[in-house]
């Protein structure tokens, strides 16, 4: 047997798999099953990122999960994640308290094309927890609002208690420089807003279909129907971007767990042009 010396991994892979220790500095319950954590690195280095990128969050002894960054890209000293408790690792993350330690790898992936949206109208459509990966876009746009045309947010949630960032939504709406439409699938007696699926909000918003970028984040069916509704309004699918997620493991395009057709979503995504993935989103096996 020939002797093989050195690592079989590409250079830098081992370092990329090593989490950095962070501490929880703030914990806020968004909904009964969703928390927003503010984290600071123990090495004091912070983490610069682009809106739409994700990190791998490692709860020591339990496991690692990919979570999109929900914080302000202009404040890299604080890493913010909004996490819904749906499994063992995310439940452990949701249970973290101030001072607890967590491992972070990243940031990874291709984010939202905010630069491409400059000088154009911008439509953001979120469903459920999908509001979290779009929050950095909103914060980025608000920090330099004059560089964008009309900005619209349409946001659909299961019920009023499941709405994320409710106070921020109110404050964004009160600026009067963005159009914000929110709907819930199921209302309750205290809800005075819209009821119905998020696609029903699309006809209400104002944008120039010849000069608009749309960013959609939520369940894939929701993104498909919103993309269809935008197309009915005249927006070309080439101007629509979606965030697609699969089972990301290594996060560096090495293990193949998140392969989606010809793309590794951790490396080539999670944000991809809808025109590039629309056909694949109709393939059940993918």
């Amino acid at each position: 047997m020939p002797h093989v010396s050195g690592s079989v991994l590409p250079e830098g892979t081992a370092e990329a798999m090593l989490p950095r220790p962070f501490r929880v500095v703030s914990q806020h319950s968004e909904t009964p099953d969703t928390v927003t954590l503010e984290l600071e690195s123990e090495d004091g280095g912070g983490m610069s990122f682009s809106p739409g990128q994700f990190t791998m969050l490692y709860v020591f002894g339990i496991g690692e999960v990919p979570i999109s960054i929900s914080g302000d890209p202009h404040k890299p000293e604080t890493l913010v994640h909004t996490v819904r408790s749906v499994g063992a690792v995310t439940a452990a993350i949701a249970a973290l308290r101030i001072g607890d330690r967590i491992g972070i790898r990243g940031p990874y992936g291709v984010g939202w094309p905010v630069g491409e949206a400059e000088g154009r109208d911008l439509v953001l459509a979120a469903g459920g927890i999908g509001m979290a990966p779009l929050r950095p876009v909103v914060l980025d746009v608000l920090a330099r609002r004059d560089r964008f045309g009309a900005v619209s947010i349409v946001y659909g949630s299961r019920s009023p208690v499941d709405l994320l960032f409710e106070e921020e939504l109110h404050s964004w709406r009160s600026r009067f420089d963005m159009e914000i439409e929110v709907t819930v699938d199921r209302s309750d007696e205290a809800w005075f807003g819209d009821v119905g699926v998020v696609t029903g909000l699309v006809p209400r918003i104002s944008f120039d279909s010849t000069n608009t970028v749309a960013m959609l984040c939520g369940p894939e069916i929701m993104m498909k129907v919103v993309a269809n509704e935008l197309e009915l309004r005249g927006l070309a699918s080439e101007s629509v971007y979606v965030s697609v997620e699969r089972n990301m493991k290594c996060a560096i395009g090495f293990c193949g767990h998140c392969q989606f057709g010809r793309d590794f979503l951790c490396r080539d995504g999670p944000v991809l042009p809808y025109a590039q993935v629309a056909d694949r989103l109709r393939v059940p096996e993918l």
Partner: protein, 151 residues
């Protein structure tokens, strides 16, 4: 209210010819509802239909022992009511203003009568109503999927 002022926001009005629009103007009037006011009741005769100009209408279902449940909201440009076009011409839901609302109210009896003699108009109206029904069916199916459920 001049129908031309809200024409662009309404699929029905957009599809009408100028002549057809003139007919619709003769069978319509502006209606104002204060927040909370009832537009029509479940089971009532569907003798009108409406297009929202400003404000918001909630379609509600009455459930014994519970407060009415809003199942859908309709805003500017939306058509309120499709039951006026199909026998037995009775409302299936209650409609209530969820904020101060201005609507254009159409006399459904007159529109149905005109559709009997003007088949071109009937075709356009039927198409719009059918598309609205299909759109609501699709949205209801999406709602039934409960997409945002976590477990």
């Amino acid at each position: 209210m001049n129908l031309r002022s809200i024409r662009d926001s309404s699929e029905l009005l957009t599809r009408l010819s100028n002549t057809e629009l003139e007919f619709f103007e003769t069978v319509s009037h502006e209606a104002q509802l204060a927040n909370g006011e009832i537009l029509f009741e479940e089971g009532g005769a569907a003798e009108s239909f409406f297009i929202v100009a400003t404000g918001k209408i909630g379609l509600e279902m009455t459930i014994p022992g519970r407060a009415p449940v809003v199942i859908q909201t309709l805003g500017p440009g939306d058509l309120v009511g499709v039951s006026w076009f199909f026998p037995p011409y009775r409302w299936n839901w209650r409609a209530r203003a969820l904020e101060d609302t201005t609507l254009v109210a159409f006399d459904a009896l007159e529109v149905r009568r005109e559709c009997e003699v003007n088949r071109d108009l009937a075709f356009e109206v039927q198409g719009v109503v059918a598309e609205e029904v299909v759109r609501r069916l699709h949205r209801t199916r999406i709602q039934l999927l409960d997409l945002y459920r976590t477990t």
